[in-house]
Assembly symmetry: D2
Homo-oligomer: 280 residues x 4
Amino acid sequence: MNTPAATPAPLPEVSDWWATSVSRISPGEILLRGYPVEQLIGQVSLPDMVWLMVRGELPGPVQSRLLEAALVAGVDHGPQAPSIAAARMAATCGLGLNNVMATGVNLLGDVHGGAGQQCMEVLDTLVHEGGDDDLDRAAEDLVASYRARRRHIPGFGHRFHPRDPRRDPLLDMVARAADNGDVPGRALAAGTALERALAKGRSRPVPMNIDGATAIVYSELGFAPELGRGLFVLSRSVGILAHGWEEKVGGARIKGPIPRRLLPSYEGPAPRNLPSRTAS
Amino acid sequence: MNTPAATPAPLPEVSDWWATSVSRISPGEILLRGYPVEQLIGQVSLPDMVWLMVRGELPGPVQSRLLEAALVAGVDHGPQAPSIAAARMAATCGLGLNNVMATGVNLLGDVHGGAGQQCMEVLDTLVHEGGDDDLDRAAEDLVASYRARRRHIPGFGHRFHPRDPRRDPLLDMVARAADNGDVPGRALAAGTALERALAKGRSRPVPMNIDGATAIVYSELGFAPELGRGLFVLSRSVGILAHGWEEKVGGARIKGPIPRRLLPSYEGPAPRNLPSRTAS
Amino acid sequence: MNTPAATPAPLPEVSDWWATSVSRISPGEILLRGYPVEQLIGQVSLPDMVWLMVRGELPGPVQSRLLEAALVAGVDHGPQAPSIAAARMAATCGLGLNNVMATGVNLLGDVHGGAGQQCMEVLDTLVHEGGDDDLDRAAEDLVASYRARRRHIPGFGHRFHPRDPRRDPLLDMVARAADNGDVPGRALAAGTALERALAKGRSRPVPMNIDGATAIVYSELGFAPELGRGLFVLSRSVGILAHGWEEKVGGARIKGPIPRRLLPSYEGPAPRNLPSRTAS
Amino acid sequence: MNTPAATPAPLPEVSDWWATSVSRISPGEILLRGYPVEQLIGQVSLPDMVWLMVRGELPGPVQSRLLEAALVAGVDHGPQAPSIAAARMAATCGLGLNNVMATGVNLLGDVHGGAGQQCMEVLDTLVHEGGDDDLDRAAEDLVASYRARRRHIPGFGHRFHPRDPRRDPLLDMVARAADNGDVPGRALAAGTALERALAKGRSRPVPMNIDGATAIVYSELGFAPELGRGLFVLSRSVGILAHGWEEKVGGARIKGPIPRRLLPSYEGPAPRNLPSRTAS
């Protein structure tokens, strides 16, 4: 029996539906953004490859090193992060490492993995709004506006670190690149202006976190904000793999959030009998 | 209302349940395998970081470059791969890039992403069974045994490439490293012995594919077979990001496997009426 | 080596962190929303159970049947839907049925599975804004406002069905329940007012789709809009299972969006050589 | 630029690639296993629909009620289960309910969700091997063989319940159906024979768990073992939705396995300095 409504259509429609500029595969040939893969292997670094694949051209050496530094910085923040914890749990449920990693990556959503993207959007606004002179004033206005709405500025504030140890090495690298004219330096200026504005009149500063520091790097390198999340996923995937693997090697089975002898508190209704009822 | 069975327990049980050797996080401090993160940023490469996180120590420079070459080699094989296609579909369903990437990664299972792991296990067997002299004979026996069971040897044969363009640059790098004593060279010998055994008496050789070539690299570097899959996930995640992003930028909505005007063939029962029935 | 900063804390903190009103598990006892599971098995229907678990109390028989009808209505719309297609692809990659189903479910995001939720929000607005008399006017204003912004009203319009065959049986059931006073009938009135407003002055009406029809049911039953997506996921999971299983039984391996002999069109740069460069 | 290797092909190849017996969709028509969807809505139960979609025909009323009972029985076992815990974590990371549910479902792998499938395979073996007379002996042999290999028989043994409260109501329903000739009763006989064999000579019996009890139901109903996992996924999805929703309503952000003030124990190397090294 055939599909009733299938109208004859020219074949190109089908291959066009899946058209791409990323790669061309034909027998014996793999072109990635136009480059034969055999020329790339052993010649370009993994961060070069990330850049080439998502942007279409290879980066310069300074750009590549900045990207690499940011990718290295975000690999892990311990098993108390839900992405890592969920991956470790998955590893105890008999899943393959691909499913373990997918489980962790899936959790890097708006709240857990999206702050970098959101911070890039904030930086972008400041960079385009504020001239050189009034960047501090623009930052102060933005801070005031967020505080009036009782919202946090994404990329700033850490529940844990008074000063995130990843901030200084990343920002120092950006500053050097800006001094040498390798990056514009505007996102760096915007980010540090925000940091100053947040500290003003506070006994306890609101420190830049990893989302803020990497947002500055990725913005300086010209990545679209949404890619900030994608790059963070690549970076954190390394930590997810390391933790999932450690759990696999450990051999625990069906590991939930609390040890087996403990039980979650129960806050629901007291035990009750099912009312007699006619079949629904 | 409280949990009835919660027996008092000492607190360390809880933090021990989530003990790890991968990282230590405390206020102002992030140690990754013992190294302060601020010393790693800008100093080690991303492949160095992968190695450190999953194995606990930093690699030597030759090891690091071999790992990088294999990670670069596997990033993409086009949108006809189901991992890439599923990620592109996900991108048209309004998901965040983290969910898009998780969707693609999840598909890299035993069949699509596990051949490298399986090939590493085969190489491991050959390396431990065969002495230098009789590696070819051991490989021929293994090929005969697979053929008798009508099974394919993982890592060999490609539905597409008569000779995979990624094979030679990867194997050349391994050969140079083996010549210099930087890697043992035994997995390389086993893999090429298998390739010869598969070609013997055949008009059309069974070429080594990317799973086979990277399996040789990862085996030479001493990774456990299961990590072969994990490393492939890291590598292919780059292509998944590039394709998912391209689809996002393109803006298509709810993109299924075939264009909307076409319909899948239907092979089920002809239209029929529901028999009258009493409520189940 | 111990965690440096772990301050002693009372144990209850840990079980409270995972407190729940949904279920209480202790040795020999499983309470679901207060009911012993052994009283529920064989006595309540699966839709009763869905209602009990997400809302805390059992539904009446009319409510239960309406919920069941909506859950039955949404199970499948063919393999051209990306959720189904991705699950079928996953089945050919050697994944377990749980991973296959997760792959499909993950795709039911804002665009592919969220229209019901969005429609419930629109209905909610109309119900609260419009009195009985001016519901049609309120609906016309809303349609005008969406058209002015060139946006579609979620739950209306179908690229395929001039009249969705699932609309009438669902709306008839709601109408009967409203006539008998079992549901308020306000969401039904709002939804049909929207349908009229959309058809006004158009040669070709904008038909209510499955998202619109089930949104009316779920709104009449008092579910929160966000649960509209959750209920759709439960419903479509049935189709995802059926299709994933069919593909598993079929035994295809690594099935991408287009048959192997075809290739996606390539729109990227022409083949080019890697520029000679110093190591990055 | 066009794909180089795209050979002209007849169009049917494309729609055949996605052929299905599950559903036929054409303008104004949705056939599910041949039945028009408008005839199914309001007429068949959700378990009927599950059966129809995965098996192609509607079940009888006793079959449908048995399936429903098993689906009801498995919906939840508390937030300490990793599938539920991971979904709750996902809910605190800003994901949509579809992604939350996919996260939980993904974890129902060989260890956490696959025991039912494995138990069905064991029951199948016993049913086909053992005649009526020697079922107990076959069960004892099987238990002895598992014990010799220090393996657990899937579906038996519970870390928590001395007697799982879901066992008796499910097995009583199966027994009544077998007495009435509605199901064969062989899987029930095999399962209880295993239970007896496991208890023999033990002070503490090895109780049947939910995987064992539902495996008996699904085997009696003639489902393939692999579908045992698929049906469990449908069932547990209800609990995953309830818990994920509770967590969403609660509003916690980035909730990991342990409260924020606690930290996982660290068992890795002591703090150390990065050795000075040349760029890799």
